[in-house]
């Protein structure tokens, strides 16, 4: 009899527990049903996260140094809005007065060696060769088209060798004073400042650039 009572009590306990669980489940179902169902029930497994790879980012700023004719030694600050072209602005010195130079160039092929095309222009302040007093002050402007090649990584760092035509305009200053200082007998003649226009396939330069 005792065993019978214990069995009934156990069944009642289990049943009441099951009922309690059913009530909780029903309440949760109601909450879930109140929420909008997702459109798709497909569950995507998360893909393995790829490790960050080194990116070939754009190197926007840098500098360019060259030795050439007629620019002499030129150092320019360079900006590269896109990898295949650049703008540069800087200064140069070719033995006369200091000059301001600028250029725009393209480097279209991204190999370790590639062709380049640059248009460069600039102008100098009046000056004369150091140590040479027997010459009038001279200033010049130039435009040159340079074709060549680049050796190195485009938009990173490399060497270049270029050449092409140049158009130069040369002005002299204080020419009359210069002639008088040379004790030239001018016979009362007043002489203006002569100028020269030169075109030649004589422009060229060799240099390197580094972009940061």
């Amino acid at each position: 009899m005792k065993r019978m009572i214990a069995l009934i009590a156990a069944i009642l306990f289990i049943t009441s527990s099951a009922l309690a669980e059913d009530q909780q489940s029903s309440a949760i179902d109601k909450v879930y049903c109140a929420l909008p169902l997702p459109q798709s029930t497909t569950v995507k497994l998360q893909e393995p996260v790829a490790l960050p790879q080194p990116t070939d980012r754009l190197h926007f700023l840098g500098f360019r140094f060259s030795l050439g004719v007629p620019t002499g030694a030129a150092l320019e600050l360079e900006a590269s809005p896109m990898k295949w072209w650049h703008l540069s602005l800087g200064g140069s010195y070719a033995g006369l007065g200091p000059a301001i130079v600028g250029e725009v160039g393209i480097d279209p092929i991204d190999f370790s060696i590639g062709p380049t095309l640059n248009f460069m222009t600039g102008g100098s302040f009046p000056g004369h060769l150091p140590g040479v007093s027997q010459m009038p002050d001279v200033s010049y402007q130039f435009e040159e088209l340079l074709v060549g090649f680049r050796l190195g990584k485009r938009n990173h760092a490399g060497f270049f060798l270029e050449g092409g035509p140049v158009w130069m305009q040369v002005q002299t200053n204080n020419f009359q004073s210069f002639l008088q200082s040379q004790s030239t007998n001018l016979n009362g003649i007043l002489i203006g400042n002569p100028s020269a226009a030169i075109s030649a396939f004589g422009a060229g330069r060799l240099g390197f650039y580094v972009m940061f």
């Binding site: 050449g163 016979n187 009362g188 003649i189 007043l190 002489i191 203006g192 400042n193 002569p194 100028s195 020269a196 226009a197 030169i198 075109s199 030649a200 396939f201 004589g202």
Partner: protein, 165 residues
């Protein structure tokens, strides 16, 4: 390949240039002598000559390249030019072997203290000045006693030179 290299070398040797001298100016003070025996109301003949020699300087230019000279301007100043009827400026070699050429001339019509002369031909002008001494002659007519004048003649010169192609 040889052709390409030869062409590239020729290009590198190609150079052309010109030097321009915009103003080579010479001022000359002129006091025309009045010939005797001119009656009142009669036109007075004017004549004044001066000799210049630029041959040494110009020969240096011609050694460099082809030289061309032109007459940039010829301007005269005086108190007044009411008395001047006409004037011409001519150049001739001192030896008198070359045909005179007219550098500039004036045929009246301007007033005030300065006048601008009409430039003459520049053909052969360089040959004139490069060969040796040149006699510049101012000749014309005046309606009354001439005043002293200053003539300012400005020439321009261009020297051209090409090398290579």
């Amino acid at each position: 390949m040889k052709t390409i290299l030869a062409f590239a070398l020729a290009l590198t040797a190609c150079i052309s240039g010109s030097v321009s001298e915009p103003n080579i100016c010479k001022s000359t003070s002129i006091d025309f002598p009045v010939p005797s025996g001119i009656s009142v109301g009669e036109s007075i003949p004017l004549s004044y000559s001066t000799q210049v020699d630029y041959s040494d300087t110009l020969s240096k230019f011609s050694d460099v390249g082809d030289v061309q000279i032109g007459i940039e301007s010829d301007r005269m100043t005086s108190i007044s030019f009411d008395w001047l009827q006409s004037l011409s400026i001519t150049a001739q070699d001192a030896a008198g072997k070359m045909t005179p050429i007219t550098i500039a001339q004036y045929s009246g019509g301007q007033s005030g203290s300065s006048i601008t002369l009409t430039s003459g031909s520049t053909d052969g002008l360089f040959a004139y000045f490069a060969q040796g001494p040149v006699v510049i002659t101012f000749a014309g007519m005046a309606s009354s006693t001439p005043s002293a004048i200053t003539n300012n003649l400005c020439l321009s010169a261009t020297v051209s030179k090409s090398l290579g192609l």
